[in-house]
């Protein structure tokens, strides 16, 4: 098989698997800090219980994020040597700053955060928790700067086909960076909101009526209710920014084949790239024009603008971008409906008891909705950038390495196998921890009985 498509699948598989875990740890770090501060302020045991449970999820997610991230740092060289050769002068410093300012910070203080509770003063433990949360966010900042620069490059010049940096301020604050960063950080917050609410709902269904479960279910639902409208607004702004800088992507998202005014908002369709039209389209007339240009008859660029005279297609494949966009937006509105209605129901005075059974089930069902929405969003933006790797500078085809298809296929198979196993173990372990917590077992694994005279390690004690 073609090493290009195999390398793309491998990169997509690696980064899709990887991003799931930072998406949890970025926001969960801050949530843990919140739990810890609430406990420090109120002394209420439920906040420490919540901290104890979720710090385990954090540790597990962090480990998976670290190891899958190491894989990412090697992928550039093994599969995409052309990338660093062409844009290394910009990408290099950004990656270096991520490693130097964020990775070491997280790694060094993670040990203290996880295992140092009894070894360091309380303030240092709280500080370590804050620094880990800060480190994960800083890491997200640098990587999104680089990613945004690849979408909307700025502050550079080309010399002999190689990018040279001319203005670091313009590189860091490139046109799409603020929108993408905000969108991703909010996505992380929402993922964690619904994860916490979902697992708390699951424990509720298993009969756990502890103050901890009440507090975390309420916390997750409320945080989700606060973040989702901000996210919808940020997403809209991000879309308008994309329309300005990458109109082909927006055309694919909307399934808009012709440049025209009064573009309908396509709710559902089957985009047909051969016939260059939508089949089975359900649409609201003129609304896409309204959203994108704030006027019903506003002209919106269509995919026909991105077909060269000789028929070469220079826009991204339409169907995956189109579908992924609808998955993301659909989940966003489902989050809005669920979080707002449940906050309203809980506000009517009866707390979690005020939530009807279907709402509890809905939270369980939506526990990983943040993951799916985040992945769908990334597919929209990354597939939507094709055929470019760095818009206008480097195509994906130009960057791929010389490794044979067979070799890529073998490593791809190995990665997929490992990832499938790890995902099963991760979900299984999370459920196991939740079930144990629901039974009020101490969160200590039932370790073998200690040998006489030797104290046994009791992780999670």
């Amino acid at each position: 098989m073609d090493p290009l498509i195999l390398s793309r699948i491998q990169f997509a598989a690696n980064i899709s698997f990887h991003i799931l875990f930072p998406t949890i740890t970025i926001a969960l770090g801050w949530v843990l800090l919140f739990f810890k501060l609430r406990f420090n302020a109120t002394g209420a045991e439920k906040w420490m219980d919540a901290y104890r449970f979720w710090v385990k999820v954090f540790a597990l997610s962090f480990a998976l994020g670290v190891v899958s991230g190491i894989t990412m740092s090697f992928q550039f060289g093994t599969n995409w040597p052309g990338f660093m050769e062409a844009v290394g002068n910009v990408a290099g410093p950004l990656l270096a700053y991520e490693i130097l300012t964020a990775f070491f910070l997280e790694a060094a203080f993670l040990g203290i955060m996880l295992f140092g509770f009894r070894r360091v003063p309380g303030w240092l433990h709280t500080t370590a928790t804050a620094l880990v949360a800060f480190g994960t966010t800083l890491s997200a900042f640098w990587i999104l700067v680089l990613n945004s620069w690849m979408h909307t490059p700025a502050g550079y010049e080309l010399r002999d086909g190689v990018v040279h940096a001319t203005d670091w301020f313009a590189i860091v604050f490139n046109p799409s960076m603020p929108y993408r960063l905000a969108h991703m950080l909010l996505a992380s917050g929402l993922t964690v909101s619904f994860l916490i609410a979902g697992f708390s709902a699951m424990r509720w269904l298993w009969g756990d009526r502890s103050d901890e479960v009440r507090a975390t279910l309420r916390f997750g639902a409320t945080l989700g209710a606060i973040l989702i409208p901000i996210q919808i607004y940020a997403g809209d702004m991000h879309g308008l920014n994309t329309l300005e800088h990458q109109p082909a992507k927006v055309a694919a998202m909307e399934g808009n084949w012709e440049t025209q005014g009064n573009v309908p908002l396509v709710l559902f369709a089957i985009p047909d790239q051969e016939a260059r039209e939508n089949r089975m389209e359900i649409a609201i007339p003129s609304v896409a024009s309204l959203i994108l240009t704030h006027s019903f008859d506003g002209e919106v660029p269509g995919l026909n603008d991105f077909v060269a005279e000789d028929g070469t297609i220079e826009h991204p494949p339409v169907a995956p971008v189109f579908y992924a966009f609808r998955v993301m937006v659909g989940l966003g509105f489902a989050m809005l409906a669920l979080s707002w209605s449940s906050v309203w129901l809980m506000r009517r005075g009866r707390g979690v008891e005020g939530l009807p059974r279907p709402w509890i089930y809905a939270f369980v069902g939506m526990a990983f909705s943040g993951w799916i929405a985040t992945l769908a969003g990334w597919y929209v933006t990354e597939i939507g950038r094709q055929p470019w790797l760095v818009t206008g500078v480097l195509t994906t085809r130009e960057a791929v390495g010389s490794v044979t298809g067979g070799m890529v296929a073998s490593t791809l198979a190995a990665y997929l196998l490992v990832y499938a196993g790890l995902m099963t173990a991760y979900l299984g372990t999370l459920t196991y921890l939740a079930r144990k917590a629901a039974r009020h077992d101490p969160l200590t694994p039932d370790v073998p009985k200690p040998d006489a005279g030797i104290r046994v390690l009791q992780p999670g004690e």
Binding site: A63, V67, L105, V447
Partner: protein
């Protein structure tokens, strides 16, 4: 500022080669001991395994970050070489990564997953450590022989893979001597006595092979007057090996005296072996093919990384020391939160 030390196209690549070398060296020593602890897993009882993991639990993540830094510097400072080296080592890199993945997650899963799965995660921890170490040793061998996949080179690389694995088990064992007490410490001393040959064989094999592979390296070592001022390196190494041997056969001593001595001596040996390698290969980053000067990124990009590095590196060292200080002393039970 860039011209302060002469031509930036000369001194910047040199400084970055130094930084990369330092990062690799720190990685080899730090992740060497925690990979080594994983390699010793099959020889330990379940209780000892918990204690062994406790001795590296707070550190392993930061230790592996040095690998990311090393590969990051290769990536950002020598982008072309990064592509050449990693494309050539495609499969061993993949094996190493899968190994590091398995090992890294096993830390968490072995204590969080249901107890009946613990045996499987212990195997994953050992298997991952083994796969990572073997592939790192293999890559070291391939690199020394010039990244050419001939049968002779593969045979040599297989040999270095075995030596490095024994060498890492050795440094893992001497770490445990410092970090544990009682029966486990006694066991670790035995492991170290048995494993020291891997370290010696590894250093000898690498030292002997690199001048034989390349006439240039031969010339750098065995010419007048270099041979005189290079002589302390092998002599000091030999003295260290002998001292290490003697100390290991006298441990444990009353009051836990000298418990950390083997670890520091082993680290010193790694430093010297690494220094010798760095001297041999300079100025090449891809052996005999590409120098650091040919493959360096643009000076204006390197300088911006260097400024950040100069600011951040001391801070990183400071809080790494803080982390090691917090968890100093004998490994005790690890408690979350």
């Amino acid at each position: 500022m860039m011209d302060l030390f002469g031509d930036p196209a000369v001194w910047l690549p040199f400084v970055f080669a130094g930084l990369m070398g330092t990062a690799i060296l720190v990685y080899v020593i730090l992740d060497g001991f925690d990979l080594g602890v994983g390699l010793l897993f099959p020889f330990a009882t379940p209780t000892e395994r918990d204690r062994m993991v406790a001795s590296i639990g707070p550190f392993w993540d930061a230790n592996e970050t040095w690998l990311v830094l090393a590969i990051g510097i290769l990536l950002v400072a020598f982008p072309v070489a990064h592509g050449v080296i990693l494309t050539a080592l495609y499969l061993p890199v993949a094996v190493m990564l899968v190994g590091l993945i398995l090992r890294g997650v096993a830390f968490e899963f072995r204590v969080k997953a249901p107890t009946r799965h613990r045996g499987a995660w212990n195997k994953a921890f050992f298997g991952g450590s083994l796969a990572s170490t073997l592939s790192q040793g293999f890559m070291l061998g391939m690199y020394i022989t010039g990244l050419q996949f001939t049968w002779a080179n593969i045979a040599f690389a297989t040999l270095t893979a075995v030596f490095l694995t024994v060498g890492f088990s050795f440094i893992g064992a001497v770490w445990l001597i410092g970090k544990t007490e009682g029966a486990l410490q006694a066991k670790a001393i035995l492991w170290a006595r048995r494993g020291i040959w891997g370290l010696i064989a590894g250093i000898v094999a690498i030292s002997a092979a690199s001048p034989l592979v390349s006439a240039r390296i031969w010339g750098k070592w065995f010419s007048w007057p270099e041979i005189v001022w290079l002589a302390p390196l092998p002599i000091l190494s030999a003295v260290l090996v002998l001292t290490l041997w003697r100390v290991l056969h006298r441990l444990p001593l009353d009051g836990d005296r000298l418990a950390w001595a083997p670890f520091w001596m082993a680290s010193a040996l790694f430093v010297m072996a690494f220094g010798g390698l760095a001297y041999s290969f300079y100025p090449y980053v891809v052996p005999e093919q590409m120098t650091i000067y040919e493959s360096a990124a643009a000076p204006e990009s390197l300088i911006i990384i260097l400024v950040g590095t100069m600011v951040v590196l001391p801070i990183i060292i400071a809080y790494s020391i803080l982390a090691y200080t917090v968890f100093r002393g004998k490994a005790t039970e690890l408690t979350y939160y």
